[in-house]
């Protein structure tokens, strides 16, 4: 047998083994396909475009996979641009919820959310519901958020410390200079 023929025999063996392995593994995993899909919101409470007669005490979004507790954010913006979520965010597996302030007026409320799935992908979006009967009496209008109402909520920049990019740039420069020095020293 020439080396080439020998090589072909090896290749066909390898292909056969690979095909068999693939068949077995794919068969074993066929049922698990749906569980691997990308992260997405699959439901909300209140639901999209729901019409409520009572203001909800919490608003929650359900995702198709567990979300990371860090970097999750959710705000509820009321009819006049006021923020009616109270900032008490809870991440419980695939459900992210936020508490609501009392006394919101009737009208359309928009829920903006932003969260990171277990594999690090960012999911953000919004949905709306309508409150048919507002609270009786005049509730104090809550603080209007800095950002435009539709923007997904971000981190609190006041407690965020200095920007990280100068450190990144400095680290890159040090590594580059060190590597060039090490190569020059050798040659």
């Amino acid at each position: 047998m020439s080396p080439l023929q020998h090589g072909s025999a090896v290749v066909s063996h390898v292909i056969a083994v690979a095909a068999l392995t693939f068949g077995l593994v794919a068969g074993a995993l066929a049922g698990a396909g749906a569980a691997w899909a990308h992260a997405a919101r699959i439901g909300g409470d209140p639901a999209d475009n729901a019409e409520l007669t009572q203001p909800p005490s919490r608003v929650s979004a359900t995702f198709n996979e567990p979300m990371q507790a860090q970097f999750a954010a959710m705000t509820v913006i009321g009819p006049y641009g006021g923020q009616w979520s109270d900032g008490r965010l809870i991440v419980d597996g695939a459900v992210i919820s936020v508490g609501m302030r009392d006394g919101g007026p009737a009208g359309v409320y928009t829920v903006n959310y932003r969260a990171t799935s277990a594999d690090g992908h960012v999911v953000s979006g919004s949905w709306s519901y309508r409150l048919l009967t507002g609270a009786t009496g005049t509730a104090p209008p809550p603080a209007t958020p800095d950002a435009a109402g539709d923007a997904p909520p971000g981190p609190d920049t006041a407690t965020d410390g200095p920007p990280v990019w100068p450190f990144t740039a400095a680290a890159a420069a040090i590594v580059a200079l060190g590597a060039i020095w090490a190569v020059r020293r050798r040659s």
Binding site: A18, F22, W36, H38, E65, Q70, P163, V164
Partner: protein, 314 residues
């Protein structure tokens, strides 16, 4: 002196690699539009490309016969320092971009506290941190410690850990089998592409090609088999149904990657039947061997960029 001519060739090779990687990243971004963003995909492509080259350079001495190995180790050292440094820097930028994306701010406005939280508390952040540590350790090890057999093995092992860090926390991390399949896929692809890049960067004359190429060819058969098996399992796992292959951004990038892989496998097969016997019999000059390797490497770089875009497509 031959050295300067060599440097020019390497410079051209690096320029070509950057060009191919960038254009392939743009293509993948266009295919996935609007499901992905350009900067993270490009940072990931550069980081992965540097990681692959680092792995190949760390492992390439194993391809030559024992008594010639010293020369390959010596030649591989300078490119290895540079490749691992590029890898480290690209990982730093990639971590910053990923943190900014998770926090919903631009990279310029990402604060130190948020960046540290992202790096320590999230799975992708920790994977990035691990990869940075590995890249830094390899760079330091190669630059400082005199290279011996054990040092080479340690360096190659470290790089391998760094290569699988990100795939293990990627799209398929929720499933242990999917994570394993993608880790095998990534490692096999990195070994195959990296070894060829390592050969091009270190092997000079046709005698060396004659010794190194048959071993590379034997190794690459196993790599391609593992790559295909792992990749197919992963693709089946991620895609819900076949129509996703063209209906979603992720599927379109995956389709491009499949096309590239088929083309690459066909080219590799052709090289195996034509180039390998010629090189083994010393009939192929080093220039011819090198140009054949460049063609294959260009396709590999494009596939790698597509893989990087795939990994950041949500």
């Amino acid at each position: 002196m031959g050295g300067s001519a060599q440097v020019v060739t390497h410079r051209r090779a690096v320029a070509g690699a950057v060009l191919v990687t960038t254009s392939a990243s743009v293509m993948a971004w266009a295919l996935a539009y609007p499901a992905t963003s350009m900067a993270p995909a490009l940072a990931r492509a550069v980081a992965d490309g540097a990681a692959v080259v680092t792995l190949g350079l760390a492992a390439v001495p194993a391809l030559d016969a024992g008594r010639y190995r010293e020369e390959l180790v010596r030649r591989a050292t300078a490119p290895l320092v540079l490749a691992s440094a590029v890898w480290l820097v690209a990982e730093v930028f990639r971590l910053m971009l990923a943190g900014a994306e998770a926090a919903g701010v631009s990279a310029g406005r990402l604060g130190v506290r948020t960046a540290v939280d992202f790096a320590l508390d999230t799975a992708p952040g920790r994977a990035g941190l691990l990869t940075m540590i590995v890249a830094g350790a390899v760079c330091l090890l190669v630059a400082v410690v005199p290279r011996s057999g054990p040092a080479c093995v340690v360096a190659a092992g470290l790089v391998a850990v760094g290569v699988v860090g990100h795939p293990l926390t990627g799209h398929l991390s929720a499933s242990p089998w999917g994570g394993l399949a993608i880790a095998v896929h990534a490692l096999a692809a990195a070994l195959w592409c990296g070894m060829l890049a390592g050969i091009v960067l270190t092997v000079e004359h046709r005698g060396q090609w004659a010794r190194v190429l048959p071993r590379f060819s034997r190794l690459s058969v196993w790599c391609v088999a593992a790559l295909l098996a792992g990749g197919v399992v992963g693709a089946v796992g991620v895609l819900g149904r076949p129509t996703d292959l063209y209906a979603t951004g992720y599927g379109r990038v995956l389709s491009a990657k499949i096309v590239l892989t088929v083309a690459l496998t066909a080219l590799a097969w052709r090289n195996r039947t034509i180039w390998l016997p010629a090189a083994r019999a010393h009939r192929s000059t080093a220039v011819v061997s090198r140009s054949r390797a460049y063609t294959e490497l260009a396709l590999m770089a494009a596939a790698l960029a597509a893989a990087a875009a795939l990994a950041v497509t949500g």
